[in-house]
């Protein structure tokens, strides 16, 4: 790419359509003769479904079809593991789990019909604390997909010898940090239009971050060939990781395929919150040691990420948290253990920075506390430990180029001085 592009302003080619109001997000697409779909979601976090009675819903005038787990040919999807059901058959694992779907002539009829579905739930105690869920005697939430433990993923990282590191440490700071669950709250709630085209192929128009994956999951769940499914990505009204998993794609596709009619679905904001992934809340237990000269010598970190009810991207997110656990600082002796743990909380997945954001709170706070204990400025503490060309990371990677952090901090020094923070 030409260097002349850097630092110049490029007009986005989709900008004009967006300022004119011409751009089509999926909710802006309509097909002649389309039906409207709605989903019944569980109000319980953990429950066994004894029965689902759809008779009253099916009998409502204007209803074209009611779907439950038994109508889904291959009832599973997921980005890493297919541990999430399209429509739950027996076991609800989080509030918002989809139980049944209705397709009707209007949205109003579809939503009225949903309210007439009777679900007999046997409510089970929920596991909401990941550290409780990790215990060996905790009931397994996914015995079929993930075995007898709720620990979905554990990554140990070892470098050097932490015992030797503690022996060299003049100061040690030990702290626990917690981050919260977040929703992406992208401005455009999920919407989808699915129909069968003139070739007999299923077309799904959706705002997605992952069209080729959606295509495979729709084909798999419906028992179709890959070549029979086409996913068209419409304008995406914000995503930030929250559109990497399946939302309404399979349900709408199923209803369009079975009825032969175009099917439109739109989440309300409430349904959007209930149904898509969240940012992982993490508990970070940090013990960091440094010498009197302000050189880091040892780190022990335990990171526990709440995966919620389904795996989604949790192993990858907790891997990234572990890889970033030292921050941009060279530490010769490191022991990091990172876990993703299944619970009955909303499932967590991709969100901006993908696991690299949460450890920042821990490792930068540790640096400030160490600086304070050593009587150094926070800036100096960082300059004495920051990655350079030739540094080796906790995972054993030798950094050979493009390590600009010292320059970056030096450039900030005058600014910090004016604020009185670089004393």
């Amino acid at each position: 790419m030409s260097e002349a592009v850097v630092g110049t302003r490029i007009e986005r080619e989709d900008g004009w359509g967006k300022v004119m109001g011409e751009t089509h997000f999926p909710a802006d697409v309509n097909r002649p003769g389309e039906l409207y779909g709605a989903v019944l979601r569980s109000p319980h976090a953990h429950a066994h479904i004894r029965s689902v009675n759809v008779r009253a819903a099916a009998a409502l005038p204007g209803v074209a079809g009611v779907f439950t787990a038994e109508n889904v040919p291959h009832n599973a999807h997921g980005v890493l593991f297919r541990d999430q059901q399209v429509l739950v058959s027996e076991r609800v694992r989080m509030v918002g789990d989809p139980i049944a779907a209705v397709v009707a002539e209007t949205e109003k009829v579809a939503r009225d019909a949903i309210a007439r579905i009777e679900v007999d739930y046997q409510i089970l105690p929920g596991l909401f604390d990941p550290e409780e869920a990790m215990k060996p005697d905790a009931p397994a939430l996914h015995p079929d997909s993930h075995g007898s433990s709720n620990i979905l993923y554990h990554l140990p990282i070892r470098r050097g010898d932490v015992q030797a590191g503690w022996a060299k440490a003049d100061v040690v700071v030990e702290q626990e940090y917690r981050t919260q669950m977040l929703d992406h709250a992208f401005l455009q709630p999920e919407a989808v239009v699915a129909y069968v085209d003139e070739r007999g192929h299923l077309v799904v128009k959706v705002a997605t971050q992952y069209a080729h994956y959606d295509r495979g999951e729709i084909a798999h769940a419906l028992g179709l060939k890959y070549s029979q499914v086409r996913v068209k990505t419409m304008a995406v009204g914000g995503a930030f990781g929250g559109r990497e998993d399946i939302s309404l794609q399979i349900i709408a596709g199923l209803m369009a395929w079975k009825t032969g009619k175009p099917v439109k679905m739109e989440n309300t904001r409430t349904e959007s919150f209930l149904s898509h992934s969240k940012r992982h809340p993490m508990r970070l237990y940090y013990k960091t040691g440094a010498t009197r000269e302000g050189k880091l010598v040892a780190l022990e970190a335990k990171i526990i990420g709440d995966a919620g009810a389904y795996s989604s991207w949790s192993p990858n997110v907790l891997r990234k948290a572990a890889v970033h656990a030292t921050g941009p600082y060279e530490i010769p002796n490191v022991q990091i253990d990172s876990y993703a743990v299944l619970t009955n909380n909303p499932y967590t997945g991709a969100m901006r920075a993908f696991g690299a954001a949460q450890p920042v709170l821990a490792y930068e706070s540790q640096m400030d506390l160490l600086a304070e204990a050593l009587g150094l400025s926070p800036l100096e503490m960082r300059l004495r430990n920051i990655f350079q060309v030739g540094s080796v990371t906790a995972t054993g990677q030798m950094l050979t180029s493009s390590v600009g952090m010292t320059k970056c901090l030096q450039a900030l020094t005058p600014y910090l001085a004016t604020k009185g923070d670089a004393s």
């Binding site: 986005r12 967006k18 300022v19 004119m20 109001g21 401005l187 709630p189 304008a235 914000g238």
Partner: protein, 154 residues
């Protein structure tokens, strides 16, 4: 019920339900899809339109309440051959990202510029405070409104 609405200087005779939201009438009956629904409860501003020149959330207005008022949606603000200075500045300054908030942002800004051609940064922020951008492009949005104000004033 039978109603008449005036939207973008055109008159429409419509049959609507008494509980039908103006937002749905604009989108579903008139095909004016530039007006967006982000929350349905007046929090996000994606459904902002102008009613007698004032920015309102069309999800909180019943269609019947709009009778007798002059309505403007994003489709009435400008077109590709004659873009409004706001539409031009939003594109040129990169104030558009996902674009879902953009029509509402432009209409709130238009309501401001139509009554105040020299708004301060604070006045712009206040006028836009009912419109959320989740791509967090607020800085560029404010700058785009400032540039449009300068162009309109010229």
């Amino acid at each position: 019920m039978n109603i008449e609405l005036r939207v973008n200087e055109q008159d429409f005779r419509l049959v609507v339900e008494p509980d039908e939201r103006l937002l749905d009438v604009l989108r579903e009956r008139l095909g004016l899809i530039g007006t967006k629904e982000g929350c349905g409860e007046g929090e996000c501003g994606a459904c902002t339109i102008l009613m007698d020149g004032k920015a309102v959330n069309s999800c909180l207005v019943l269609a019947a309440q709009a009778v007798g008022h002059e309505l403007m949606t994003i489709e009435g603000v400008g077109d590709r051959l004659h873009p409004h200075p706001l539409q031009k500045s939003f594109v040129e300054l990169g104030a558009v990202q996902c674009g879902f908030c953009t029509p509402g942002m432009i209409l709130s800004a238009k309501a401001l510029l139509d009554r105040n051609l020299q708004p301060s940064e604070e006045e712009i922020k206040e006028a836009m405070s009912g419109n959320l951008c989740r791509c967090t492009g607020y800085d560029k949005i404010v700058k785009a409104v400032q540039r449009a104000a300068e162009e309109v004033a010229r």
